[in-house]
């Protein structure tokens, strides 16, 4: 069932699985809801302007459909030069006009502007497109340049791109859609790919209904590449066969225990610090997350190694460790007492904590249970509540919680993490829905620093800002970092090698990331 060409290499198709449930025939790359996005094959059809490696965020992006680009000083304008010799899979040439068309499409269709980029003006001259913005895009560089490009000659004929399922996608990528069915989407090699002949003859994307099914498929070899939660991955998956591999690097986005700084007991900084000192991140990592999400044990909350370049010198290499005695000391100094092993706050009330996360989020809940167990060591009575997702969303937004495990956005810099947790611009009174800073952390200093970091073009001044932000984070403990979302994948080296690994971390390895074509072009058949 492969597309003809022989030549010594393996003719094995690559089977890619995702545990995303049934899909519909929808290859609209703009929709997170489309099968193309959900399974990831959008990225092997449509390609971005540049390839940015989130596992090494400090590094510059790699040119992809853009040959080169240039930002102005205050990051309100970018000039992008299109690569030559690229063809759409229908044979039409790819030009800067296509880039301009795509950016305009995003600009004119708010529903497609998923990154909320404030485009102002887009113009073409020759092979260069210039886009201007309403504000500094210093933080959004990768998002602007990560945009995938669609062909103007096709999309301009689509009446409403937000309602289009794009069932015959035409892109520049190394593969083209061959057949689509609910369970298997088959892509075949694009023989006129600008980057050369893709080594894998055929890709088969399968959507498994849930994690169990996906894991079973991985174990049986039915899936060769996937990204799925696997508990105790070493034992469960990797050790099962010597061709089973997993590489789970992290990016700059974390799971943190958001503490409500405007509600007892975490309105008392001593209490937050003490909690930070007794929670066993190692246990949360191994048992709560079953070792799946990356351990974040830096004091700054920045995952290592992705965040190492951004860590303040004073915190470099510093790890958060369990220190019950230290925690008790902090509490005693702050006026806390114990009565028959129960912690009593300075105003004489016993300290009680309710953790909250939605029913069904088993890794979060298991982690919360561990934390709750940890807090018992300093005499805090705690429980875990599990509302429905919706009431949790509402409660967390309104600040109606004491502590919840929640993620942050993933960005090119630590700004997203800290802003999501501490930014005063997101601060809302209790009871009003906030989209971030759920803990109502109110530090004008942090707010100013974050704002400056977002626009200041001077690199060292920015690092300075960051150092100060980190200091506030470490001392004030607005949240307790726990784990970092993995950007990795499980893959089999039975037929193909050349995957990103710890030693060669050239890309985030999930099949649903924009880096997929880069990885695919890097694969080599196993003899």
């Amino acid at each position: 069932s492969s597309s003809g060409s022989s030549g010594g290499g393996s003719e094995h198709p690559l089977t890619i699985g995702m545990p995303n449930g049934p899909q519909t025939n929808n290859s609209n790359p703009f929709m997170a809801t489309s099968a193309a996005s959900s399974l990831g094959y959008a990225w092997v059809i449509y390609e971005p302007l540049t390839q940015w490696n989130p596992t090494q965020p400090a590094k510059d992006p790699k040119p992809w459909l853009a040959k080169s680009w240039k930002w102005n000083d205050d990051f309100t304008s970018v000039a992008i030069t299109a690569r030559d010799g690229v063809k759409w899979s229908d044979g039409k040439p790819f030009t800067a006009k296509d880039i301009a068309y795509t950016l305009k499409l995003i600009k004119d269709t708010p529903a497609l502007n998923g990154n909320a980029i404030p485009y102002k003006d887009i113009s073409v001259s020759g092979d260069t497109v210039t886009a201007t913005f309403d504000s500094s895009q210093l933080l959004n560089q990768t998002k602007v340049l990560g945009t995938w490009i669609v062909p103007e000659h096709i999309w301009s004929k689509i009446s409403d791109p937000t309602k289009n399922t794009n069932q015959k996608p035409v892109g520049t990528g190394p593969y083209t859609l061959k057949t689509w069915s609910q369970q298997v989407v088959t892509l075949e090699r694009n023989n006129s790919y600008w980057g050369g002949k893709p080594p894998v003859p055929e890709l088969r994307y399968t959507s498994y209904t849930d994690n169990n099914a996906q894991l079973t498929a991985l174990l049986s070899g039915a899936s060769q590449w996937s990204y799925v939660f696997i508990p105790d991955i070493e034992k469960t998956y990797v050790s099962k066969s010597k061709t089973n591999n997993s590489y789970q690097p992290t990016g700059l986005g974390i799971d943190a225990l958001f503490l409500n700084t405007q509600k007892a007991p975490f309105n008392n900084v001593a209490m937050r610090q003490a909690a930070n000192m007794v929670i066993d991140r190692e246990a949360v990592h191994t048992q709560g997350y079953s070792g799946f999400k990356g351990l974040v044990d830096t004091v700054t909350g920045l995952p290592s190694p992705a965040g190492d370049a951004f860590t303040a010198p004073e915190y470099k290499g510093k790890k958060a460790t369990v220190d019950v005695a230290g925690a008790k000391k902090v509490l005693t100094e702050a006026g806390y007492t114990w009565k028959s092993d129960k912690l009593i706050d300075p105003s004489g009330n016993p300290v009680k904590v309710t953790f909250i996360d939605p029913a069904g989020w088993s890794d979060y809940l298991a982690s919360l249970q561990i934390m709750s167990d940890n807090l018992a060591k300093i005499g805090v009575e705690s429980s875990v509540e599990t509302p429905t997702v919706d009431s949790w969303t509402t409660a967390v937004g309104a600040g109606d919680f004491q502590a919840t495990l929640h993620w942050t956005n993933t960005g090119a810099t630590p700004w997203d993490i800290y802003s999501n947790i501490m930014d005063g611009t997101q601060l809302k009174p209790l009871g009003e829905a906030a989209s971030w800073n759920f803990g109502r952390f109110d530090s004008p200093q942090a707010t100013t620093l974050l704002a400056d970091y977002a626009v200041n073009p001077d690199a060292s001044a920015r690092q300075d800002d960051l150092n100060k932000i980190e200091k506030i984070f470490v001392e004030q403990v607005p949240a307790i970092p726990m784990a970092a979302g993995p950007l990795g994948a499980e893959f089999s080296t039975k037929y193909w090698t050349g995957w990103p690994t710890k030693d060669n971390p050239y890309a985030a390895s999930q099949p649903t990331q924009a880096s997929a074509p880069m990885i695919l072009m890097n694969l080599k058949p196993v003899k």
């Binding site: 089977t15 449930g21 049934p22 899909q23 519909t24 025939n25 929808n26 609209n28 929709m31 997170a32 809801t33 489309s34 099968a35 708010p110 529903a111 497609l112 502007n113 998923g114 990154n115 909320a116 937000t162 309602k163 289009n164 399922t165 057949t179 069915s181 609910q182 369970q183 298997v184 088959t186 088969r204 399968t206 498994y208 209904t209 849930d210 169990n212 099914a213 079973t216 498929a217 049986s220 039915a222 986005g253 799971d255 939605p358 429905t388 997702v389 919706d390 009431s391 969303t393 509402t394 993620w407 942050t408 956005n409 993933t410 989209s435 971030w436 979302g485």
Partner: protein, 326 residues
């Protein structure tokens, strides 16, 4: 005739009630599809997207519920079930059309097999009651008392994981392309076997027990004794006289219990990751995908109604007494 009219009126009313219920319940659900989507991605979808998603899903407009209800009916009558949020912008009808055949095949097949086998077994057990056959009852009893999903899990664990006889999930062989090819169909049958088997096992015991009790009851009716007195062959007495009458309550029970059965297969589809409508419904509920939820529930309900209508008419066909009396 009157009987039929009454039944049809009843089904129309039930359909109306279900459709209306179907309209109002999702609207009372808290939360919205955008946040559900964000939550589903747990950080992998940037919160920047929230605004664009609201626009995308058309949730930035406000209408009264009454207007909505009218529009809902209008659309429904035009066969328009709206656009799914989860699979935006795929129309719900398309998603359902894709899922329905699987469910129909799986549920229809296993329900009918379960019913037929269970009824036959019940006939046998009821006819030979007081013999060793009675020892089978506790087994049937046990199977009727275990939760379906658990049976499914055990079956997967035993027959798909430990001994890999059957695939653990899916509706057909991923290596094949859906179509009327033998490869595909045999794969689909192969994939459907384990779910079907578990559905049959868990539903069969109910039919067995019900049918057996009816057989025992009917067997002591005079007309069965008369049939024996006439010296009819055993087979004829057993099927033509005893079973033929004993099956009547089962059939009307079948009509009414379809709702339960369909509920059960929803779980089956979830456990076996079967690409059917029940799974869709469950997904839709999770992601606050009202249009899909409504569509799936509607289809499920309407299929139950249609099936039970058929069962009703089969009953009327089998029982001459209903045909004249109200």
């Amino acid at each position: 005739m009157k009987y039929f009219l009454r039944r049809v009126a009843f089904y129309l009313f039930t359909a109306w009630a279900a459709i209306t219920l179907n309209f109002f319940i999702p609207r009372m659900l808290p939360g919205d599809p955008v946040h559900s989507l964000i939550n589903k991605f747990q950080g992998r979808l940037s919160t920047d997207a929230i605004k664009s998603l609201y626009v995308l899903f058309g949730l930035d407009k406000h209408t009264t519920i009454w207007q909505d209800y009218i529009t809902y009916w209008q659309n429904l009558l035009h066969g328009d079930l709206g656009i799914s949020f989860t699979y935006f912008p795929t129309p719900v009808s398309e998603i359902l059309a894709q899922a329905l055949p699987w469910t129909l095949a799986l549920v229809g097949f296993s329900t009918i097999i379960g019913f037929v086998l269970g009824t036959l077994a019940g006939i046998g057990l009821g006819w030979r009651r007081g013999t060793w056959a009675d020892n089978l009852l506790p087994i049937a009893n046990f199977f009727s008392a275990i939760p379906y999903f658990w049976l499914g899990l055990i079956a997967i664990s035993a027959l798909a994981v430990t001994v890999q006889v059957f695939p653990a999930s899916g509706g057909y062989d991923p290596a094949t392309v859906p179509g009327w090819s033998w490869e595909f169909i045999s794969g689909a049958i192969y994939h459907g076997t384990l779910p079907a088997l578990t559905i049959i096992i868990s539903s069969i015991s109910g039919w067995i027990l019900g049918m057996r009790n009816m057989m025992v009851t009917v067997s002591s009716e005079d007309y069965v004794t008369v049939a024996q007195a006439k010296g009819l062959p055993e087979r004829k007495v057993m099927f033509g006289y005893a079973a033929r009458n004993a099956v009547l309550p089962s059939i009307s029970g079948f009509a009414l219990s379809l709702g339960f059965i369909v509920g059960g297969t929803l779980v089956a589809e979830m456990v076996f990751s079967y690409p059917g409508i029940g799974y869709m419904l469950f997904q839709a509920i999770g992601s606050k995908d009202y249009p899909l939820m409504q569509g799936a529930f509607l289809v499920v309900t309407i299929s139950v109604l249609v099936a039970s209508m058929i069962a009703d008419f089969v009953y009327a066909f089998l029982d001459p007494r209903t045909r004249v009396e109200g």
